[in-house]
């Protein structure tokens, strides 16, 4: 949950740290996604169900992770 305090902190951070943090968040989001796509597949989720959970199409999630 994003609080006012966090938003203030984000604004006051120097750009080198702030921009790196944005990149790190993107990399982290990709890792979290890949980790949980893998778990979902192991638990028998279809590509369609995974796509719906991520808010993307079945095709795009399959193209990214499918064999």
């Amino acid at each position: 949950m994003v609080t006012d305090g966090l938003l203030t902190q984000i604004r006051s951070t120097d750009p080198a740290s702030g921009l790196r943090a944005a990149g790190a968040l993107r990399r982290l989001a990709d890792l979290v996604e890949a980790t949980h796509v893998e778990i979902a597949r192991q638990q028998g989720w279809s590509w369609e169900q995974i796509g719906d959970a991520l808010g993307v199409s079945r095709q795009s999630v399959h193209a990214k992770y499918g064999k």
Partner: protein, 153 residues
């Protein structure tokens, strides 16, 4: 662009693309060129750092940056076996500058081949803000020392 690259320099650039993909970056940056260069044991020796140490420090820099905006990951470290399939292919503008610089350094020495040593020297010249410069600082590399070792001066 890579005609004058020695085989070992080409290899360093090739593995730097892998380092970028490994970190989840779409473009090859100066930090990835540095990681790629460290696959070469002679270069790692000249810079006095190991590939593992550099990879760890790159993660440390990410964590510090996240903490600076108030995000503490604690011990959370997702490590998926299943990888998104994409390959980093293009270079960042900083990485292109480094590649250009290697050629300038090579012709300055009247050398024919662009060697990993030229790549190391070009990376040591980077000034912050730059990902390779940031990583070298975090690794505690003494640039002047390393430069002297690499030029034999």
């Amino acid at each position: 662009m890579f005609e004058r690259f020695a085989g070992s320099t080409r290899e360093a650039v090739r593995v730097s693309a892998e380092e970028a993909s490994r970190r989840g970056d779409r473009r090859i940056g100066t930090d990835h060129l540095l990681l790629g260069l460290l696959h070469d044991s002679d270069s790692a020796g000249a810079l006095g750092v190991s590939l593992d140490a550099a990879r760890t420090k790159a993660d440390v820099l990410d964590r510090k940056a996240l903490e600076s905006i108030g995000i503490d990951l604690g011990g959370y470290l997702p490590q998926p076996r299943l990888r998104a399939r994409f390959r980093a292919q293009s270079f960042t503008s900083g990485a292109r500058e480094v590649i250009t610089r290697t050629l300038v350094l090579t012709t300055g020495e009247k050398a024919r081949r662009i060697t990993p040593r030229h790549l190391a020297l070009a990376l040591l010249e980077r000034q912050q803000p730059d990902p390779a410069a940031e990583l070298l600082t975090e690794l505690g590399v003494d640039r002047d020392d390393a430069q002297r070792r690499l030029t034999g001066a």
